[in-house]
């Protein structure tokens, strides 16, 4: 349980969860059915309900944050967990039932091909996921600025369905954007650090429970914050890739 070497060839599923009482059990059941040999860690982001207990009762390991850090902080904790225990790969998976476990193979495959991070995109062709017009417009603006900064086109910059290799996990375990809309920032950070970030089309479901954090004034605030933050992402050099593999 505590040794780390044995995890090198294992995949860790990281599920950040904040008050996901309704959907967490079914999400965990789905994962255990579809990918039975993956390890699952739920990062309870200071929930006020019984999310953490539910996670443990349903056979997941649960890291309990003492207070709410936001999605970015919860994820960083998950990455830290992955690095501490020596996992070779990790997947980020939402607790709200939006992600489809049968799509996991699709986002893992490019890692074998040398990718460091793979984003499951709702808009790259497969599936029938719909967003409202204003949300779509806002996402478009963000997509454009990310294109400029990352030097690469992505169709779904806010997707929380992603896979990571060990090298990226190790950077993200200390340097993950800790606030809301973390995924866009993470994307740019990884690209600018020279990691190979790819996107694959996936199908997703409409969220089954919980509520999307998209109240407009908050969204505007976070937009501005993200834009400032993106514009100031350092162009850093990634650690020289040792002769692994």
């Amino acid at each position: 349980m505590l040794d780390t070497i044995d995890n090198r060839n294992k995949v860790l599923v990281i599920i950040p969860a904040f008050n996901e009482h309704e959907t967490l059990p079914s999400t965990l059941a789905e994962l255990q059915r579809v990918v039975p040999d993956f390890h699952i860690v739920v990062v309870d982001d200071g929930s006020s309900d019984d999310t953490a207990d539910l996670a443990e009762a349903n056979g997941a390991v649960c890291v309990r944050l003492p207070f709410n850090l936001g999605i970015g902080g919860a994820l960083r904790t998950g990455f830290r967990f992955a690095v501490e225990r020596g996992y070779g790969r990790a997947i980020q998976f939402d607790a709200d039932g939006q992600h489809d476990a049968s799509q996991i193979a699709a986002i893992l495959a490019p890692l074998d091909d040398g990718a460091d991070m793979v984003i499951g995109s709702r808009f790259a062709g497969v599936g029938d996921y719909h967003v409202g017009r204003s949300r779509g417009f806002a996402m478009g603006i963000l997509r454009w600025s990310i294109h400029r900064l990352a030097g690469k086109k992505f169709t779904d910059t806010s997707s929380g369905f992603r896979s990571f290799d060990a090298e990226l996990l190790s950077m993200f375990s200390t340097d993950y954007p800790i606030e809301y809309m973390d995924s866009a920032e993470a994307l740019v950070l990884a690209c600018r650090a020279g990691f190979d970030v790819r996107e694959v089309p996936v199908t997703m479901r409409e969220r089954a429970g919980g509520q999307a954090s998209n109240r407009s004034f908050r969204l505007v605030y976070h937009y501005l914050r993200v834009l400032v933050s993106l514009a100031n992402t350092p162009r850093r050099s990634r650690a020289p890739k040792a002769a692994t593999s």
Binding site: M1, L2, D6, R8, N9, C62, V63, R64, G73
Partner: protein, 140 residues
């Protein structure tokens, strides 16, 4: 400024400095933060103590209504202090987050260890053979 203004300014500044020093002595204020406030006080002391100074400097700077210089100076220093606080706050928040994350992971570790002590049977032998070196075999 009139003499009366100078005297009231001097009294005000003296009281403020005494208050700051008292806070530092009671450890309610860290010395490093008090430095900022004390330097603000020092500037005010000089202005209060040397009657002609403010007017003279204002004239040199081409400020038509001299007392505005006082306000300008105070404002500039306050802004500096506010920026410094934002900086400290950011640092402090980063540390708090770091602590929360480490705490959560350690808490899990402790629970796991406790559980392994509490279980009567020895630590479960891993499913794979003892030294499954994960397939990566480095032969010389």
């Amino acid at each position: 400024m009139s003499l009366r203004a100078h005297i009231s300014l001097a009294v005000l500044v003296a009281l403020s400095i005494i208050a700051i020093v008292a806070l530092v002595r009671r450890r309610h204020l860290k010395a490093k933060y008090s430095l900022l406030w004390l330097s603000l006080g020092a500037v005010m002391v000089v202005i209060a103590a040397v009657p002609g100074l403010l007017d003279w400097t204002a004239d040199r700077l081409g400020i038509w209504y001299q007392p505005t210089l006082l306000i300008l100076l105070g404002l500039a220093l306050l802004l500096l202090i506010a920026v410094h606080f934002s900086y400290e706050l950011t640092r402090s928040e980063n540390r708090t987050r770091e602590l929360a994350e480490q705490l959560a992971l350690l808490r899990l570790r402790v629970t796991e260890l406790q559980r392994s002590i509490d279980t009567p049977e020895p630590v479960k032998t891993s499913d794979e053979s003892p030294s499954a070196s994960a397939g990566v075999d480095e032969t010389s």
